[in-house]
């Protein structure tokens, strides 16, 4: 009986803690880190472009050697291709990073 109650209490405490954390994260942290996160992904996309540009039709003199990196980035490959092919305006993309409010 006693154990069941502590279990429930723990669960409830976990839910409260998660709520508080998400609130703090969403209110104070997320927006602040969004710019960095965006920058990180952009940089990552650039690295992908340097490594695997030949899949988009940009000749890469060393596609043979970059192939050995493919296993580590295989998961990123298709989303990256979709992203890079669907880019509309670089200006708008950059502007979206800034918080004008």
């Amino acid at each position: 009986m006693h154990e069941r109650w502590t279990g429930k209490l723990k669960k409830a405490w976990g839910a409260v803690w998660e709520f508080v954390w998400l609130f703090v994260f969403g209110t104070f942290l997320d927006k602040r880190t969004a710019a960095i996160r965006k920058e990180a992904w952009d940089m990552n996309d650039n690295v992908m472009l340097l490594l695997f540009g030949d899949y988009l039709g940009l000749p890469n003199p060393v596609s043979y050697y970059t192939l050995e990196i493919l296993p580590y980035l295989a998961e990123d490959m298709l989303p990256w291709q979709r992203r890079i092919m669907n880019r509309q305006s670089v200006v708008a993309e950059k502007a979206a990073q800034y918080d004008f409010t």
Partner: protein
């Protein structure tokens, strides 16, 4: 006399000038002196088997005492390399993704330069085995343009990879910053296998550059005939190699028509004399070895030995 002047010797030049014969003769000469020598052919149209009179293929085979030979099969090397990557990929990501990006792998496999890259990889691999048991490696390289591209790879790629590593580092650092609040992103930042893999590749280029640009470790010899086009092409090639810091050891002027050839060659002899002078003028100061035109094609180790005797006269 010393057994050898340097561990790595390259023979290059226009197609049909007798590169393979010269490299075989040079290797035979080293082997005769008791130096354990490996003879490597990188020419896609292999003729080494024919000349040494032994069946050679993509693995190192003995030819005679102190002499081994290999004909690099670029296509097979590339196949093996891609196979290894596919195995690695299956271990890391799900088969669905592997299936989806199979097409990309095909592109890389058939892209121009992949054969050169495969040959270059094998080059470095063979150079790394120096000392067990080979004391010298003689490379019979493919016709000029191809070879130059091959040898210029380390310098160009070294800079490129450096840049790539720097970019990846930056992106990983950024992931680390935001990763404090996001476990998924943090996973990308720790022990990045991409940087590791790129660094390994960079070290490999560095090593091959160190081999190729050290005149005590390697030298490049051009084989040419006393004719106009080969002279021009050799001049260009020498210039390019020196630009990349690869030491050019000297020239082998092959198939010189001997004066006793008879009336039929009288005009050619006169022209040849002019070209020989031009070679002397253009490439003066380098070792120049003159080999006469022989009565027949060089076939089998006996005849290669005869050419080796001629080479002995000038210590290349």
């Amino acid at each position: 006399m010393e057994k050898m002047n340097r561990p790595f010797t390259f023979f290059g030049g226009k197609g049909g000038t007798g590169k393979t014969t010269c490299s075989a003769a040079y290797a035979a000469m080293l082997a005769r002196r008791g130096c354990k020598t490996l003879l490597v052919s990188t020419d896609p149209a292999h003729s080494l088997s024919d000349i040494v009179g032994a069946a050679l293929d993509n693995t190192v085979r003995p030819i005679r005492e102190n002499l081994w030979g290999i004909e690099i099969d670029a296509a097979e090397e590339a196949r093996r390399y891609i196979g290894e990557i596919q195995d690695k990929m299956l271990a890391i990501v799900s088969p669905v993704i592997v299936d989806e990006i199979k097409q990309q792998m095909e592109i890389a496999y058939t892209s121009p330069g992949s054969e050169e890259a495969a040959i270059f990889d094998k080059f470095v691999e063979l150079m790394d085995t120096l000392g067990n048991p080979y004391e010298a490696v003689v490379f019979d390289t493919a016709p000029t343009g191809h070879t130059l591209r091959l040898l210029s790879l380390p310098k160009i790629l070294g800079a490129w990879i450096e840049n790539l590593i720097a970019k990846r580092r930056k992106s990983v650092a950024l992931f680390e910053m935001v990763g404090k609040f996001d476990k998924d992103l943090m996973k990308r930042a720790v022990n990045d296998p991409v940087i590791e893999s790129l660094t390994r590749r960079q070290q490999r280029f560095e090593r091959s550059r160190a081999y190729l640009t050290n005149p005590e470790a390697s030298a490049f010899f051009f084989v040419l005939n006393a004719e106009r086009m080969p002279i021009l092409e050799t001049a260009r090639a020498v210039e390019l190699l020196e630009k990349f810091g690869i030491s050019v050891g000297g020239l082998v002027v092959n198939r010189i028509i001997p004066p006793e050839a008879g009336d039929f060659f009288a005009d050619r002899l006169a022209a040849q004399e002019e070209y020989l002078q031009e070679i002397e003028r253009r490439f003066g100061g380098r070792k120049i070895l003159r080999l006469p035109l022989l009565r027949s094609d060089v076939r089998g180790m006996e005849q290669v030995g005869a050419v080796a005797d001629l080479m002995e006269s000038l210590s290349l």
